[in-house]
Symmetry: C2
Subunit: 400 residues, 2 copies
Amino acid sequence: MKINKNYLNLEASYLFSTIAKKVSEHKSQNPDKDIIRLGIGDVTLPLSKAVVKALKQASEEMGVKETFHGYGPEQGYDFLKNGIKEYYSKHNAVLEPDEIFISDGAKSDLGNILDIFDTDNTVLVQDPVYPVYVDTNIMAGRKIIYSNSNETNNFLSMPDRNVKADIIYLCSPNNPTGAVYDREQLREWVQYALDNNSIILFDAAYECFISDETLPRSIYEIEGAKDCAIEFCSFSKTAGFTGTRCGYTVVPLSLRYDNTQLNKLWLRRQTTKFNGVPYIVQKAAAAVFSKEGQEEVLSNINYYKANAKIITDTLDRLGIRYTGGTNSPYIWLKCPNNMKSWEFFDYLLENIQVVGTPGSGFGKNGEGYFRLTSFGSREKTIEAMERLLNSSLCTTGNCS
Amino acid sequence: MKINKNYLNLEASYLFSTIAKKVSEHKSQNPDKDIIRLGIGDVTLPLSKAVVKALKQASEEMGVKETFHGYGPEQGYDFLKNGIKEYYSKHNAVLEPDEIFISDGAKSDLGNILDIFDTDNTVLVQDPVYPVYVDTNIMAGRKIIYSNSNETNNFLSMPDRNVKADIIYLCSPNNPTGAVYDREQLREWVQYALDNNSIILFDAAYECFISDETLPRSIYEIEGAKDCAIEFCSFSKTAGFTGTRCGYTVVPLSLRYDNTQLNKLWLRRQTTKFNGVPYIVQKAAAAVFSKEGQEEVLSNINYYKANAKIITDTLDRLGIRYTGGTNSPYIWLKCPNNMKSWEFFDYLLENIQVVGTPGSGFGKNGEGYFRLTSFGSREKTIEAMERLLNSSLCTTGNCS
């Protein structure tokens, strides 16, 4: 038996293990110091009351013969698909239930969707990049090209008509940069895809953080997108489902390549290699769309947004440039004093015991940048920012 | 963008849609007749009390900040891996926690595992076959060869030293035939795999139905299997988790091909394309291994086994030959009077309104055979068998 040798081309990622090692070393040398982690990409608030209530009710149902649920439809129950359809309609995106596939998370589907594409396709990712887009394609042996997101384009790279890409990943609001495409920019990407017979894989996992109503929350708000884009979304950040696992993928019925309807291919993939999301989890996700659920999850999102504002207000006072923070849980800042990413990491850890994520870990354009997140607690976020204001970084005179 | 054209080689499966169509036609023509379905592959008993209790407790935890669980380890929590390790140790199979990967079900992993194998491998499946083994490999463009399971080998095909296979699927207890390999037979397969540098993908989804203690419940009961086999198992049939979704895959640390540890490749695949099983579901699965949980799930398994005995006793009285039914939830019978599979299907539906699954739907060796399952209710199973005894099939004089 021969293994898939493409796996041997994967680079080991030392980003998070190096962070862990440095933090643990600092801790052992300074046992009395309190370290604050603002690098975390996971939510910290618990599930909302409406969601917990739905989980418990559905669990009870599963214990009674008459209301027990065995195998469900692989693509998800209608009660949840209809909730998602309605949610999208509020953002002027019209979906059919058959276009929505319930999944156990955006990450799974972003990887698995590649099953239905030929290996012989050129993949375009933006640098800095969420590493999963790269690794899943290395595993399949696809050619990967990079589009530079940097200061000159506000970390929102635009299509280059001289470059031919078949599969294009877009993440907006972006992880790690927090930058968000506006309608005009997405229109340009959609037009490029239509003109080049390309497909856009649109990662909308952070759409719920968009406050600015002029910014698109779904690529399907753009005309023509249903002919060239698949969208991935998740309850992870919307409703704190990182440990509860539910997401969804939209494959429009009109999406056709090689005279083949992609929706049919994906349905075949899912019915063959997937058995659906737990009934109880789908009931919990549906509760997110109830009146009570919407109020509660919005309150949680607003909590994180207030954390983000505390961070960006502080960066403003320090005169540190950044993207994100307003329509995104991520704040992507330019390291002060021309420090490199890891230099700034060490500076923060050693001087004020704050931990973030070095931007260079997301690609070459990330060098000299740094990612902070708003998913921590209010108290810790405030304290970390106070430490920052009291640090030697304050040179403007109006910091503290 | 070019699609994966291998998908176009998939044959549409009309088995279950044809059954549904025939049943619905019969119903509309005979609205007063009560149809009994014994073709169902899904469980019908609700989740056990201990499992529901664990689900509700874990749901409560998720609603409280201090006990909330976000992202967990992709390969599963230790509390569940340790439960599985202990379960295996009772069947003389010694596993390390790092060899166990918690998944959302055996079907997902049986498909996804192919990611880590080269396309250029020859796959051996047994005919009759669970269609997922075939379809997942057609999707990847692998060459598939068939090993005939039929009356001459009691539906347990053995390795042919003249045939070279790289990837070998074995399912024991078998779906659809209910046949179970004994130790000596599995030893022969393990030896073949070791001699040919092949890998065995061992589907143990029905192991909990084995009553005969001389029969192996895990391939790791066989010496050498840890050097040539991956095992897939599930809580679906063990504990009624078909709609709750939890399974596990064992990739031994000693498993090496092309000088590469498969365990590391699979870990990389899972951390890249999967985000773990819901915390609440893992807690529920762990409750299956509690004293209370074990008693309850065994009671459910015994309920299905008693159904199986009612079916096999009836077949014995009718003089109909079959495999399975004693160590398996499936009963695979030879259609009486040399009927073909669909002929017998029509006979049962039209004369006694009992629905099963035509064996020909599982491959050419299934022609002339028929699958019944023990997952129905006691009452319906008894009634279906009474109808069978009172049918024109009773020619032995001692049926009713």
